[in-house]
Symmetry: C2
Subunit: 96 residues, 2 copies
Amino acid sequence: MEKKYNFTDVEIKDMAIRFKAMSEPSRLKILRALFPGEKCVTEIIEKTGLLQANVSKQLKILQRNGVVSCRPSGLQRFYKIADNSILELCNMVCKS
Amino acid sequence: MEKKYNFTDVEIKDMAIRFKAMSEPSRLKILRALFPGEKCVTEIIEKTGLLQANVSKQLKILQRNGVVSCRPSGLQRFYKIADNSILELCNMVCKS
DNA sequence: GTTTAGTATTACTATATGTTCAAATGCTCA
DNA sequence: TGAGCATTTGAACATATAGTAATACTAAAC
């Protein structure tokens, strides 16, 4: 597998932002809750044990960085993992 | 490839710490300087354009989290990427 | 059409942590 | 001891997190 390592400054900045999105336990707990499939905010609150305001805030950060996506449905908003590589990333970091 | 997604709280905490280690542009610039091969602190300072104190502090963080390793040699200390998966990780995040 | 209940986001505050820079200190070898 | 290389310290500034409370949104009941 061909690997790149001459990253530009812009790429480095973007990478830092993405890594930062994954760098909080509260956000990783939300991802853990979402790996099996999409869930609404209330379900995420139950699964994670975090407070409502906190979940909402962290979901916004995850969404802004393309880690999760959102689908409104009636009163609820269903969030899901945006990309398969997120799980792969977690597995790689967890092993090392 | 078999993927895990029932991470324990402890695993999540550790993952967050590792992601955080990669979440600063200054640290990623240091890694970029090290990808071609090991370098001493002075060389890293030249390559990155960061100040000495800063490089030293960020190297310590990277070392504490197992991202780089250190080999003293005379007056100098040579740092290198500790693990091949670091570059793989950067490639994965850069693409997405 | 207005109200009401359920659902989710936003504002605000206190606290904590991280980054950078300048200066001082530590370490190693000649 | 002195020079070169690297780390540590301390202060200023910036950013992030968690919690409480208030606000916004949506759909259905009346």
